[in-house]
Symmetry: C2
Subunit: 346 residues, 2 copies
């Protein structure tokens, strides 16, 4: 039986953890000073800071994020919402953001919306419970409730610059999808292709913007024909690209070029062309979008638009970090541009 029961009335739940007050005691200061010293909050004497830091180091003090979150009503989490994990594009975004955030001591909570406004809203509710310090959201298509929820925390939008309605002022990092689509189309026109089809799947807002770019470029050249649009709401994939290609070729042989809204579709089309002995770009030119992995390896190598996904993820995270600290970003809408990559397929 235990001999030492000097404090029988005390119900302790001591966890053995080294706490801030341990550090404070060791450094000979109060917990508040220790807290301030450790967080680098100014208004603490330099020597005290040193003492506290030494003590913390010696005791191997590890702050408790839960306690901190509870007391300060702000966690070190940042929620990142993306539509899909099965699209490299979004994974690249996530990876870059996560890396940047982690370097500043923030934990990423990821949410996958599956392009579903309801799911996004639900996710937002769940994630907001954790009182994230900030939010990174893909796109601009949200339910009204989601928009309300997002307004509660510093928030930066990824990919799309302008909001559709232009209502709420907000922050974003991305590039001009419509302009990129137009630029790519103009390249095709310059190469002498006139009958340029647009083939798309998934049909999210960005795809639609690219389409409008394609349309305006063709209209400007007097080459627009509405029957050149091939839209398929299904998820984008290599296989679907192949199918769409075969369909287009079968039904409309009088086509010079096809602008696929995403590289995976274009890659699938290229494979299908190979299989059916259709020569690219001689019989039909093909271009894609995003410059995903493998697009430089296809046969022929794919002409496409390189989009700065990693830089977007990083810059958005950086902007958010600034916002969290209360800084105003230099530009609310950061345009990172894009790059036409001309290879052999068009």
């Amino acid at each position: 039986m235990p001999a030492d029961r000097s404090l029988p009335a005390l119900r302790r739940r001591a966890t053995g953890r080294v706490t801030l007050s341990d550090v404070a005691r060791a450094a000979g200061v109060s917990t508040s000073t220790a807290s301030r010293a450790l967080r680098g909050e100014r208004a603490v004497a330099p020597e005290l800071i040193a003492q506290v830091q030494t003590a913390a180091q010696r005791l191997a003090y590890v702050p408790d994020p839960a306690a901190r979150a509870l007391a300060s009503r702000r966690s070190d989490h940042v929620a990142v919402l993306i539509p899909l994990l099965s699209n490299t594009l979004f994974v690249d975004l996530l990876e870059a953001a996560q890396k940047t955030l982690r370097a500043q001591g923030y934990q990423t909570l990821m949410g996958v919306t599956h392009y579903d406004r309801q799911e996004e809203e639900q996710l937002l509710r769940e994630l907001l419970q954790h009182r994230p310090a900030g939010l990174l959201v893909t796109g601009r298509d949200h339910s009204p409730a989601s928009i309300d929820l997002m307004a509660r925390v510093p928030c930066v939008h990824l990919m799309d610059l302008a909001e559709p309605g232009g209502a709420v002022p907000s922050y974003s990092v991305g590039f001009d999808q419509a302009e990129a689509g137009a630029e790519l189309t103009r390249h095709l026109l310059r190469q002498g292709y006139r009958r340029v089809a647009f083939a798309a799947a998934q049909l999210d807002a960005r795809v639609l913007q690219r389409m409008s770019g394609w349309r305006s470029a063709l209209q400007a050249a007097g080459a627009y024909d509405p029957t050149l649009e091939w839209l398929n709401p299904a998820a984008s994939s290599l296989a679907l690209g192949g199918q769409m290609f075969e369909q287009i070729v079968q039904q409309r042989p009088a086509i010079d070029a096809i602008f696929f809204c995403n590289d995976d579709l274009a890659q699938g089309a290229l494979l299908s062309a190979l299989r059916r002995g259709i020569r690219v770009p001689e019989q039909v030119a093909i271009v894609g979008f995003n410059d995903l992995t493998g697009s430089d390896q296809t046969l022929p190598a794919l002409t496409t638009v390189r989009t700065p996904r990693a830089r977007i993820g990083e810059a958005a995270a950086q902007m958010l970090l600034g916002l969290i600290k209360g800084q105003q970003p230099e530009q609310a809408q950061l345009d990172l541009g894009f790059e036409l990559v001309v290879r052999a397929s068009a």
Copy 2:
């Protein structure tokens, strides 16, 4: 100027948040009863449970994870460590695990180790600060310190079943990589290919296991030749697959088939073969591993081994969830098998 200052001494930090005690008051019970009722902890009268739930609903009560974590010393986080985000394999794992975890109210904290033991250790330290309820870790190659850290929380290993040393008893969900490698090699042998090369990149533990399966199958057939191994420590990619293929073909024309350790390499090789006019499988057969997206679209379609990544992610999450609840899994090592997918390339 504010007229009502009845409680000047009280320094409130009221957040406006609906708290558990609001719910308890509304339901006419104590906070502990409310807490128990809401968490479905038994030993609460059914009618009280109903009252509490109604009150919670009416007040739109949202529990605070930070407060809960602080009080219970256990958060609703689960940390998931994967080597890379640039490999579909791991993203599939992550996605499946995350989905399963979220359905049970757990938040996923992801960590990317970049195949680096030090980075994994560091990540583990960071993530463990959050007192995760559990851990999902890819592979079995960890630093001693990491192993210690992992022992502090319920933990399930993904992909690799057995631990190298066989020391610590532990939980895992995966399949037998060596057997899969052997099986694929035997298929090649059955098709009449004798000189079967093994080409690998990345060289992680799993790749090496596949290689040992390849070796033993060849040895059993008396067809093993150590000069048939082509190892490249670089990261796996389509482009690298192409390069390796060209190298192999150039230096060792007397080869019947090549077993690439991963589909992306094999896909690159196929493209390269196409480019150089080398017929597959007539001149050289090619097989890959994992059945990644696109492998059914290549020319010719790729023969490979389908690995149950999504099921692994899900089952591992499920096992972890059980462990967290204190349940003992039926099997500590869950083997989910694999499937030979014979297509046209071999």
